[in-house]
Structure formats: C-alpha cells, structure tokens
Amino acid sequence: MKKTPQDMQPAETFVVLLMLVVSIGVLIVSAGIAGFSSLSSPGTFPIFVSVVLIFACVMILRENARYKALPSYSRFEEIRMALKNLFSPTTVFFILLMAAYGYFLEVAGFLAATLIFLWIAMIFLKGTTPLHATWISVLSVTVVYVVFRHIFLVLLP
C-alpha cells in the first residue's frame, strides 16, 4: 500500500518534527544510562533504538516532502491545524472527563465515580436522553460490579 497525498493529515510535518525532538531527547537519556562503556552495556541497545527513532522521523519527513501538492503553512498555522485536527471540543471535553473520572475513582470510589462518569459521558456524546442514560448507567455499573467482582473475582478501584 503506497502512501498518497490524501493520506496525509493536517499539520503532519509539525507533528513528526515534534516526534523528532522527542526522539533526540530519548537518545540523550539513552546515552546517559551507561555512556559508551561497552557494546553490551545497559545503554547500548536503547542508544541504537533511539537512533532508529530519529532515522524513522527523518525518513517520514523526507517521504512527506515529496507531496508538494499540499499547500505550505506557517509554523504557527501548522500548530493551530494540528491542535484542531486532534482536539475537537468534544475530544478535549472527553479527555478531561476521563481525567476527572480517574481522580474521582480515588476520592469517591468505583461505583459512584463510574455511575457519574457514564451518565455525563452518555449525555455529552448524544448516546441517549438523560432519563435513559440514568437507567443504562445504573444497569451497566451493576453488571460490571457483578461480573467482575463476583465472577472474574477482580478487585475494583
């Protein structure tokens, strides 16, 4: 399967550049593990892998540079496009909701946190009406609790 210009995402170059920076960071950390003491030291293999990471990023950039059919944008415009492509308001809200769920798992416990998370998420993602969301959430939490706690015998947060 060959790549076509249509396969490129908005601001892909910017995102790959970001990955290149992270890969260079990984190389620096790898070099700091045991330096270049020997070819079988704990740091040698990570150094090799991080060089491969950098190589892959460079090759992706080279590959993408061939598709000049796409208009070029300023770096600021690329950042804006990347953020818009990745994080629509719905996605951002859902990620924040997941984070809040993770926090309330510690504070309120599994049952209460899950019930509230499911109810808000179902309404927010337009899965169903608030009334339906209430009984679906209660039913789901009950099923999850019975199946996982009593059948699979796993501990719940």
Binding site: C57, I60, I95, L125, P157
Partner: protein, 516 residues
C-alpha cells in the same frame, strides 16, 4: 498419537472449558460486529481479567473471542456497511448491496457456513505445519531469535500501514516503552527519571489496554453521532446447493488466507482483500457483477479471513513471533501464565499446542451454531449508539488495568498511553508494532547483549557469526531485502530493466525490418 488426541479433546470433554469457549465465541461475534469494539481490545482486556485463572481456561475464552470476533465483523459489514473489524472490509463490498436487495439473511447464513469451512481449513494447516516448523526452528541460535524479532517488528511495520517508516517508528517506540524500568542484568534504571514507580516498568497489558481501548474510543468520538440503517431479515439458512457450488472458491481462498495469516505481521484483513481480488480476477461469470451483491464476493474474503486465524497461530506458537495483532496480545497472555511461545513450547508443553488446536475446532462448531441463530436480536444489539459504547469502553479499560496490580497509578498511565496512542493513530501510526515492540523489545535487548558478551564485545566477530551460520545469514538477508524493498531502489531497477528490455526489443524490431 493417542496422547495428542487426548490433549486435543481436553476442551471438548471438560464442561467448564466447553462453556468458556461457547461464551467466548458468542461474545466474540458481538465484539467483532459492534463497530468500535475490536477483538484485539477484547483480548487485551481479557488478559487482565483472566491472569489469575488456569492457563487452559484463559486460553479457551480467548480462542473463542478470536474466532467469533473475526467472523462477527462480517455481520455489521453486511447489515450496516460498516465493517466491525478490519478483516471484514472486503465483505462489505458485496455484503451490503445484498442486504439492500433484502437478502441479508441468506448472505449472513452463507457467510457463517463458509467462515467455518475457512476456519477448519486453517486449523488443518496449523496442525500439520506447526509441528514441522517447530522442529526446524530448534536449530535456531539466540542471535537468530534476535533476527526473527527484528523481522517480526519490521513485517508488522511494513504491512500494517501505508508507510514503513511510521511502522519502524511505532515498533521502536514500543521497544523504548518496553525497556523502561530496571535492567534485568545489571539492576540499573533505564528511562525511570528517578521515579521508584517506574523502576518496575510499564506492564505491557497496561499499554495494550490504553492503545487498543482508550485510543480507539477517542478515535471513535469523531463519528459518534452516525446512526445505522436497519435491515430486514427473512431467510437465514442458505440452500445446500449454494454451499456446494461455492466450496471450490472457499477452499482456494482459505489457502490464500492460511498463507497470508502465517506470515508474521499479516492477518485476516490483508488475506481477505487478497482473496477478494483473486475471486474478482478468476471468476469470469459471477452471479451478479462484483460490487453489486455477488455471493462470490462474500465467500472469498470470509473463508480467507477465518482461515488466517489458523495461519496466524503457526508463527506464534512455533517461533514466538505473532502472526497479527491478536496473536501479539495472546503472546502476552502466554508470558503472563509463565509460558514461552517458541520452538520449546512444542517440546515442553505439547499439550498446549493440541489444546489450542482442539479449542479452535470447537470454537468453529459454536460459530456455526451461534452464527445461524439469533440474528434478529443481533441486529438490534449492533445498532448500539457509539455515545453509549465509548464510555463503556473506558470503564472496562479502567477495570481491566486496575485488576493487574490493583494500582491506580497504572490507570493514569493507561489513560496517558491511550491519549498518546490516539495522537499517533490520527497521524497514521499503527498500534500493532508498538505492542509488538513492547513485548519483543526486552527479549531483543537480552538476546543482543548475550550474543555480544559471547563474542567479548567484538562487533566484527558478531557480524562474522551472522555470516557463517546459514540460518542467521538467510534471516539477515531477508531483513535486508525487506528494508531495501521499501526504498526507491527496486523501482529504479525495474525501470532500468524495462528500459533495457524495451531498447533491446526496438533493436530487434529494427533488425527484423532491415531483414524484410
């Protein structure tokens, strides 16, 4: 022989295992059919729930889910024109036009029978090919395993996406994630940034759940509001004559499926597309043109993707190299249960190989039963809105992650890795190579360092070892060819040869003209 038969029938004679395979197959059909849920996601979650179980019980459930899931994808492809799994993409080409004509019931019925035929052919190949390949792979040295692991990661990278470099990046990222924690040889911390929590490393099941659960859910948010079209179901059992008529195509497509499935890194999706292409080329007079509801267009991909299951198990069980993403996750499950897939698996635990073969056959029997019943209730279930499904995926991912070590910190890592996976997925990076890298990375590191220590850190001696051993040489050459195949070199060579041939033809033509 009788010993192998007794291993084969373990799951058939134990009521608990029998029920687990039935439950796995049944739920697998739904998991595969509901767009947004994937077999890989389900198996990743199951590992965390079942790792305290007996290995046979855990495997029975996973084998059922795998078989049911690959088949289940075809249902939503036929009924909704949305393939429930990548392996069912080709099924939608002719399946949905058939449903629009009101023939959804028979289409599902025929698909069920043909899927079982394909599945059984795949298992026959597995039971013959598995022991043969396993015996051969006993000749492998540690450096050959290192090369096989590199080949596996490269193949997954090359074939699962559109850019090999994105595949290489994903595989390498997985290796780095897999190396986080204490070095097993020296006890030194790697990529821990002084954190005691990270000294134990990131469990690959935590990453798997994040990558296949959370990242998939976030990707699904993009089309959460799409409502499916309801279909009418009448007749389900296909006429016997039809099955006989399509059997030759099913057998040929199954052979394609087994071969593609057995290549490390390639699974049912590629097998189904290739089989569909084969059917289109080889059948001159289909019932109706391909793409407009030809039954041949259903038979070819469905027999191939189910046959690929048996094929995918061959490299996984004999070499420890996964055939596709699901078998990559299954390798993780075997490791958790203290088993090491590879050539020694057939020697140390032959019962496990034959148990899997027996369970696969049983799963296909259940597939036939469940596939031909309850379709009307099924159509209601798969119309479940994504707005309900996505939050449920997150809850299951949290429960699955927490159950591994009862550690909430791992839940945060899972959510973080899932979000990172979502970013990577959006930009065309595959999740399969990351998981494979995480599983094979630490093994790769150990085999490399051990091989280096045996040659007293002399790189030339290491290279000489690769060159003088035939197996290492072949594997190194294969890796080199795989890398070169992705560069512009082959295209340049082909152009050079074509132009040379063309100019030679012109010269010959000119000579002939002169003769005349």
């Amino acid at each position: 022989m009788s010993t192998y038969l007794s291993y084969f029938f373990v799951s058939w004679l134990n009521i608990k295992l029998l029920l687990l395979i039935a439950a796995g197959t049944f739920s697998g059909i739904y998991v595969g059919a509901i767009p947004g849920l994937s077999v890989t996601m389900a198996v990743s979650l199951l590992i965390s729930f079942t790792f305290s179980w007996e290995v046979n019980e855990a495997l029975a459930l996973m084998v059922g889910i795998y078989c049911g899931g690959v088949y289940g994808g075809s249902r939503s492809a036929i009924l909704l024109n949305i393939p429930g799994a990548p392996a069912a993409i080709a099924t939608a080409f002719d399946g949905f036009p058939l449903a629009k004509k009101g023939e959804a019931g028979v289409a599902i019925g025929l698909t069920t029978v043909i899927s079982v035929v394909g599945g059984l052919i795949g298992i026959v190949f597995l039971s013959i090919g598995g022991p043969l390949i396993s015996e051969f792979s006993l000749k492998f040295a540690p450096r050959d395993y290192m090369l096989m692991a590199v080949m596996g990661i490269l193949l997954v990278g090359c074939l699962s996406g559109k850019s090999i470099y994105k595949g290489i990046f994903a595989g390498s990222l997985g290796i780095i994630l897999g190396l986080i924690g204490m070095d097993p040889l020296t006890g030194q911390g790697r990529f821990t940034f002084g954190s005691v929590q990270l000294m134990g490393g990131i469990h690959y099941v935590v990453a798997m759940i994040g990558l296949f659960g959370v990242s998939e859910a976030l990707s699904q948010i993009r089309n959460a509001g799409v409502t499916p079209v309801q279909q009418k179901i009448d007749r389900i059992i296909p006429p016997w004559k039809w099955i006989i008529e399509h059997l030759p195509l099913a057998i040929k497509s199954s052979v394609i499926g087994v071969f593609i499935g057995s290549l490390p890194g390639t699974g049912g999706d590629i097998a189904a597309l290739l089989a569909y292409g084969y059917a289109k080329r080889s059948i001159k007079n289909p019932s109706v043109p391909f793409g407009e509801g030809a039954y041949e267009g259903l038979v070819a991909p469905e027999s191939a993707n189910n046959a690929a299951i048996g094929g995918a198990y061959i490299p996984m069980l004999t070499l420890g190299i996964p055939g596709d993403a699901v078998t990559a996750v299954m390798i993780g499950a075997l490791f958790i249960h203290g088993l090491k897939p590879g050539p020694m698996l057939m020697i140390e635990t032959p019962h496990l190989f034959w148990f899997i073969v027996g369970s696969l056959v049983l799963a296909n029997v259940f597939l036939l039963i469940f596939g031909l019943t309850g379709i009307r209730i099924f159509t209601r279930m798969i119309e479940l809105p994504k707005g309900i499904l996505i939050p449920m995926i997150i809850v299951l991912s949290v429960v699955g992650t927490y159950s591994i070590h009862n550690n909430l910190m791992e839940v945060w890592w899972m959510l973080g890795i899932g979000t990172l996976g979502y970013i990577l997925r959006t930009y065309g990076f595959q999740m399969g190579p990351i998981v494979l890298g995480m599983i094979l990375g630490p093994l790769l590191d150990m085999s490399y360092r051990r091989a280096m220590m045996t040659v007293r850190n002399q790189p030339l001696e290491f290279i000489w070892d690769l060159l003088r051993n035939p197996i290492s040489l072949i594997l190194s050459a294969a890796i080199l060819v795989m890398i070169l195949a992705q560069t512009p070199l082959p295209e340049r060579w082909a152009n050079y040869w074509n132009s040379k041939k063309h100019s030679k033809g012109m010269d010959d033509g000119a000579t002939n003209d002169d003769d005349l």
